[in-house]
């Protein structure tokens, strides 16, 4: 068990900085999720910990040891690959024993530990089979088993659930969390699926274009996104972002003037009055919008998506930008093409500058 520290790590492919000046510490026993869209550098960052990619600048440390020049096999980490990467010519038992065998563990102990792990993961009946004879879920468990069998310092998981069907994914997600909790092994978990990230991570590190955008606990990330990228990426669908300008109203209130109408600010948010006339981006989550005759924004209904328990109403605003309004299924559904007014819950408004960073509201105190 160990902490993993990235210190100003950069990885280049030609002119592209796949990972750009990444500094991040993963605590001992923590499950940290690296989240981001494809090509954001999260897998590259993980592979640098495994030793499968060379670090161009900065250092990666596992425990107290900088591992930049340490061979993958000497790093004592275990990796679970997206494709599972099982040895197709070996049986499940031999797959599980492989890492132990490389470390010179005697035959009897190897077999015993493989059987132990197989029992934990419900793989006992399949010990004699080859990976080709297993289902996707079973293969996934073998890959997990191969990682845990040698009690490494850290688990590195690269989108291990993305090849499973939806139902199995939810179940395996919970299994991995439970397993990690029980073993207490430091884990870096790479995914592009924000639901996985939210449900699994002790903390989530969001990356985009090789750069770390924000690291925080899941709820904090959702409630106070550090920039508009994190705001839009997290949530399903993500936060609505509407362009506008800060306007100080005649009555003394502060509003964001958008093409679709003025949104009055309240409380701490109103402290942005000093930014009068400056362009800003107004962020508000779908659940904080409401179709209401007195709403501040004017739009037209483009699409109504029924999701069972709730309904997503996608509206087009005057400047052709789109917003998603989430409402309960029992609420009246607007018709397609109908002009509607959309109310914004003032307390739930986020403000970002044009370049995406969060406009820090001054607290009342």
């Amino acid at each position: 068990m160990a902490q993993i520290v990235f210190d100003q790590v950069t990885k280049r492919y030609g002119d592209v900085r796949a990972v750009d000046d990444l500094s991040l510490a993963v605590g001992d026993g923590e499950l940290l999720v690296l989240l981001g869209p494809s090509g954001c550098g999260k897998t590259t960052a993980l592979r640098m910990v495994a030793g499968l990619e060379v670090v161009d600048e900065g250092t990666v440390a596992i425990g107290d040891r900088v591992v930049n020049d340490v061979e993958p096999r000497d790093r004592d980490v275990a990796m679970v690959f997206q494709s599972y990467a099982l040895y197709p010519h070996l049986t499940v038992a031999k797959n599980l024993e492989f890492p132990l065998r490389q470390r010179g563990v005697p035959k009897e102990e190897r077999e015993r530990r493989a059987v132990d792990v197989a029992r934990t993961l419900g793989l006992e009946p399949f010990l004699g089979r080859k990976p080709g004879q297993l289902s996707g879920g079973q293969r996934q468990r073998v890959a997990l088993g191969r990682a845990i069998v040698r009690s490494p310092k850290a688990f590195l998981m690269d989108e291990p659930l993305s090849n499973l069907d939806a139902a199995l994914r939810v179940q395996t997600r919970a299994d991995i969390v439970a397993l990690q909790q029980r073993l207490g092994t430091t884990t870096i978990y790479v995914t592009h699926d924000q639901v996985e990230a939210m449900t699994m991570g002790h903390r989530i590190a969001v990356m985009d274009h090789g750069r770390l955008q924000q690291v925080a606990a899941p709820q904090e990330l959702y409630d106070r996104p550090g920039n508009s990228f994190v705001a839009a990426f997290l949530g399903s669908p993500g936060m609505n972002l509407i362009g506008g300008r800060v306007a100080v109203e005649a009555e003394g209130g502060t509003a964001i003037r958008t093409a679709a109408g003025d949104v009055l600010l309240q409380g701490a948010q109103a402290s942005v009055a000093s930014h009068h006339e400056q362009p800003v981006v107004l962020g508000v989550r779908p659940e904080h919008l409401r179709i209401s005759p007195g709403g501040a924004l004017e739009g037209t209904v483009l699409l109504v998506e029924l999701l069972g328990a709730e309904t997503q109403v996608i509206c087009e605003l005057a400047d052709h930008s789109r917003v998603v309004v989430r409402q309960q299924a029992d609420q009246a559904r607007p018709r397609l093409g109908e002009p509607v007014r959309i109310a914004v819950e003032p307390a739930a408004v986020h403000l970002f500058t044009e370049d995406g960073s969060r406009l820090e509201e001054k607290t009342a105190a």
Binding site: P72, V77, A78, A85, H89, F98, Q102, R103, P131, G132
Partner: protein, 300 residues
């Protein structure tokens, strides 16, 4: 009802068109492959008298038995097997070695790949000329190195066949390299990476992961190399020839077919020999498929 009829007539039209389209290929194959193939079986049943001009006469399977038990055939068969043993493992292992060496992301590695695969496009005649010169007892490279057996290599009953094998290996190397390279690049990268993270050294990874995963390619290589070795003719004819002192020691089956027909003028015996070679190739390929394929692990 009408639609059923029209569908049937449409299918018929498609079938007629299909047969018309394969007809030219079928005609070419028929004239140059199938007819000679069948005719060869007939030839094997007729004996040609030792004096030219006399008509050949039907002897049935008598000639087949005679040829297959003759010392000439058995000697030739042994020579062929020896040649295969010399060529196949060496050709495949060297090809694999080069493929592994060239299978890395280095600037300019493509140049090496082209060089390694170039023997595929060199003609037998040119290659034979080059090797003939290299092994020439006066101006050759080997005498220059101090290797100068007597009689000269290509007339030496001990060294003539290995010398031909060296050239055959060289010429097969290009194809072997291409086959192995293709096999290597089709291996799942993540499995090899998993082995590295799991603690395997490069050596262990190669023997315990790469080679087993490559086994379908190796199997294919063995079949191709064996057939190639069976059919090595030009090298022998150009470098040794039937007038050479070492001729008896390089007289592999395919060359034996040629000398029996062209030099001894005996189409009957030659036909039997060529059938024997055909059946040998067929049997060996089937045996290899049955036995090797069972041990081959295909990636899931």
């Amino acid at each position: 009802m009408a639609s059923v009829v029209s569908r049937r007539s449409q299918r018929l039209r498609e079938a007629v068109l299909g047969y018309l389209l394969i007809l030219p290929a079928l005609a070419v194959f028929g004239v140059f492959v199938f007819y000679p193939f069948a005719r060869n079986f007939k030839l094997a049943l007729y004996q040609t008298p030792p004096f030219p001009g006399l008509p050949s006469h039907y002897v049935g399977l008598h000639q087949v038995g005679q040829v297959l038990t003759s010392s000439n055939f058995l000697q030739s068969l042994l020579t062929t097997i020896f040649f295969v043993v010399l060529v196949v493992p060496a050709g495949l292992l060297l090809g694999l070695f080069l493929a592994v060496a060239a299978h890395r992301h280095l600037r300019g590695i493509a140049v090496y790949r082209i060089i390694f695969s170039s023997t595929v496009v060199s003609s037998v005649a040119v290659a034979a000329l080059v090797f003939g010169t290299l092994m020439n007892p006066v101006v050759g490279f080997l005498p220059w190195l101090g290797i100068n057996p007597h009689p000269p290599i290509l007339e030496n009953t001990t060294w003539a066949l290995p010398a031909i094998a060296v050239m055959a290996v060289w010429q097969f190397l290009g194809l072997s390299f291409i086959i192995m390279s293709a096999g290597l690049s089709s291996l799942p990268e993540e499995v090899l990476e998993a082995a590295r993270v799991d603690g395997a050294s490069s050596w262990t990874t190669f023997w315990r992961v790469t080679v087993p995963l490559l086994s379908p390619t190796l199997f294919f290589g063995v079949v191709v190399a064996t057939i190639y070795a069976f059919q090595t003719f030009g090298q022998i004819d150009i470098l040794i020839g039937s007038q050479n002192a070492a001729y008896e020691h390089v007289n592999v089956l395919i060359y034996n077919v040629y000398t029996t027909l062209q030099i001894n003028g005996d189409p009957g015996r030659a036909a039997v020999l060529s059938i024997a070679l055909f059946l040998l190739t067929l049997t060996l390929t089937l045996v290899q498929m049955r036995f090797l394929e069972r041990r081959v692990s295909y990636a899931s």
